[in-house]
């Protein structure tokens, strides 16, 4: 490892992505799943900043990071609204119970 600060940032990105996806695989509570999605989004924000720095265009990378922040926040809000609706209609937030495709 050359000790470049961007490399450390990329390692952190990979770590956040891995933790987020691991959470998506493991968790059963819908709201916790949204938390895992947010962790994954944090990784995306960081990768935008890091990519801008590595490629030599920091300003573009940062404005893309702003875009990601906004978009992921909106997604989180919508996802939580949907989770609340699921709770109202199905009575539970457990992914094992709310699947209706099973016979």
């Amino acid at each position: 490892m050359t000790g470049d600060v961007w490399t450390i940032a990329m390692v952190a990105v990979l770590g956040l992505a891995a933790i987020g996806i691991y959470g998506l695989l493991i968790l059963r509570n819908l709201i916790k799943i949204v938390v895992a999605l947010q962790v994954l989004a944090k990784g995306t924000i960081l990768v935008m900043v890091a990519a801008g720095g590595i490629a030599g265009k920091p300003a573009i990378g940062q404005s893309l990071a702003i875009t990601v922040i906004v978009a992921d926040t909106v997604v989180t809000v919508m996802a939580l609204a949907l989770a609340i609706q699921v709770r109202r209609w199905c009575g539970t937030l457990d992914t094992r119970v709310i699947s209706s495709l099973r016979r």
């Binding site: 996806i21 695989l25 968790l27 799943i33 992914t95 699947s99 495709l101 099973r102």
Partner: protein, 592 residues
């Protein structure tokens, strides 16, 4: 050159119409009006395209990457098939106004018909092989949706699924061939492929050729894929006229005609094409002779006539096959629409319950007889000229056994056609209620009957069109015979060829066999095993049922992977990403 905007307009105007029809919702008359206007406009546009035919690409949209450009090429094959699709489509839409009156879901019906017309026009005008595949599958989708239009009738649903699966399996051949062409040439452009086909490795070219042959045979219901077309007769009759007689089943013949110069040198290809055509013509002829369902007889006759066209392409007679395609589209659509009028009033498709309708439905009877004369190949109706031209060139260029088989098929055609006309219109029967066809139906029938009588005169101009725009297919044929003079030359050639008189003799023999069938009843009863085999479709029905069951069973079995559990879905996504990353890693490793 105005073809630049006329081409995409002809392709996509019906799609816009389909969207408008769906959006019209409850306004039933508005929806029907939109459908008629769109179909009529498209018919006019496609006819306007004919003088603009050229061998250069008329319209192209650069997409980039692997897709290349979406290009439309208005050459001889394309413009006349587009005109057939649009004009007969328009007539079918007009006919449907009376036929589908009072039915449920008419918006869906008209939208699907318009969607189909656009896709068919796009199919024949495309110069990009990927676009051909996409339009091919769109026509298969519309065909399935329209066969199963009465989706509360289990027979209709089963017929639709069968058509979809069988033509889809053939479509795999087309897709595989296209991808192989792309891998070899680096582009999906058809003229580029045709120019470079000689440089392909022979085994690859053979695979592509036979793949295309399988796709064409499946789409045109040729042997061994012929069983889906009779079951597709559950569709409303205007659909049978449009899709399963005049347009979609022509797509297979079109495919073979367009690519025949590339594959003509592949060992065994031409012989396979001739065999497929001849066997289909013969088998279908026997099936038509023993069937009692009016539309099934017409369906089998379609298979048989398509067999004629395929046989002609195998014998190298591309112009003759396309000319017969033109005649066949017109007279088969005529026969189907007239049959539709009959079925609509009598209420049954069983010919044993019909008879004596000539007095109650004089116009329908007259146009049906015209179509029957064309089908049997009796002069001066258009079917005679084109069929004789095929037989003549087949005798000259193809194997002799195939010519004999085709002669037998000609005789069988005359036999079952006369049988059909007799049983429906002239057999003595008790007085039953039947009324003449409605005004919209008549409006559609009369132009087609007129066309059957006169389209043979287009032979000369048609030959010019093909020679001018398709130098690869018709080398060395300059602008010789001009216009109608060419037609007289062709007509004279036909009348003086010996094969013509042989064929006419066979036709007379076939008709006579039916007319004096009483003494032959003994032979008929002793041949009952053959009859039973023919009625059971020579075992192909059983094979087909097995294939359909297998596909549906596999689908049900794979349903367990769609559990709807979020976590497993995410696991599947992660596994897919891992697969992609591995592929990237391997590719990078190989690329060094």
């Amino acid at each position: 050159m105005h073809a630049h905007w006329l081409l995409p307009l002809t392709v996509f105007l019906p799609w816009l119409g389909a969207g408008a029809v769906l959006a019209a919702g409850r306004a039933r008359r508005l929806a029907i009006g939109i459908a008629i206007v769109c179909a009529a406009a498209d018919a006019v546009l496609s006819i306007l395209l004919i003088p603009l035919a050229s061998d250069r690409i008329g319209f192209s949209l650069v997409i980039g990457g692997a897709f290349g450009e979406l290009s439309l090429l208005p050459d001889g094959f394309g413009v006349y098939l587009a005109a057939i699709a649009a004009v007969i489509g328009g007539l079918a839409v007009v006919f449907s106004v009376d036929y589908m009156r009072g039915e449920e879901g008419q918006n869906r019906y008209y939208a699907l018909v318009l969607f189909f017309i656009g896709a068919m026009v796009g199919l024949v005008l495309s110069a990009n092989l990927l676009m051909v595949v996409v339009f091919w599958e769109i026509t298969a989708l519309c065909s399935w949706a329209l066969i199963s239009f009465h989706n509360d009738d289990p027979k209709a649903v089963a017929g639709g699924i069968k058509a979809l699966i069988v033509t889809g399996l053939g479509g795999v051949g087309l897709l595989a061939g296209s991808l192989a062409i792309y891998a070899q040439v680096g582009t999906f452009d058809i003229p580029t492929f045709m120019a470079r086909a000689n440089g392909f490795p022979p085994r690859l070219l053979a695979w592509i050729g036979f793949g295309f042959l399988a796709a064409a045979a499946a789409k045109s219901a040729q042997f061994p894929f012929q069983t889906w077309l009779p079951d597709a007769m559950e569709a409303p009759t205007p659909i049978s006229a449009l899709i399963h007689a005049a347009t979609m089943v022509n797509a297979g013949v079109y495919l073979l005609a367009r690519f025949s110069p590339a594959f003509a040198d592949v060992p065994g290809w031409s012989l396979s094409v001739v065999s497929v055509g001849a066997v289909s013509a013969l088998i279908a002829g026997t099936m038509a002779a023993v069937s009692n369902d009016l539309k099934r007889v017409l369906a089998w006759s379609t298979v048989s006539q398509l067999g004629f066209m395929v046989y002609a392409i195998g014998a190298g007679a591309v112009f003759q096959s396309q000319f017969h395609l033109l005649s066949h589209s017109v007279f088969k659509a005529l026969l189907f629409l007239a049959a539709g009028a009959v079925v609509h009033t009598v209420g049954t498709r069983d010919m044993r319950n019909m008879g004596g309708l000539s007095r109650k439905m004089p116009l329908t009877c007259a146009v049906f007889v015209i179509g029957a004369l064309a089908l049997a190949g009796i002069p001066p109706v258009n079917g005679f000229w084109s069929k004789e031209m095929i037989l003549e060139s087949g005798l000259a260029n193809g194997p002799f056994w195939a010519y004999v088989v085709m002669l037998v098929a000609v005789g069988l055609t005359a036999l079952y056609t006369l049988r059909c006309v007799w049983m429906v219109f002239f057999a003595p029967a008790e007085d039953r209620h039947a009324h003449e066809a409605g005004p919209a139906m008549k409006f559609a029938l009369i132009p087609l009957a007129f066309g059957s009588l006169v389209t043979w005169m287009l032979a000369g101009p048609f030959q010019n069109l093909l020679a001018r725009t398709l130098p690869l297919h018709f080398p060395g044929a300059g602008a010789e015979t001009a216009g109608l003079a060419g037609t007289w030359a062709i007509a004279a050639e036909v009348l003086t060829a010996s094969s013509t008189w042989v064929a006419l003799g066979v036709v007379a023999l076939g008709a006579a066999l039916w007319a004096v069938r009483a003494p032959f009843k003994g032979i008929s009863t002793r041949l009952w095993p053959v009859r039973r085999a023919a009625e059971a479709g020579y075992g192909f029905e059983a094979i087909n049922r097995g294939i359909v069951k297998g596909v549906q069973g596999a689908g049900e079995g794979l349903r367990t992977t769609q559990s709807g559990l979020l976590n497993w879905n995410v696991a599947a996504i992660v596994m897919a990403v891992i697969a992609v990353l591995c592929a990237l890693w391997l590719a990078a490793g190989r690329g060094g």
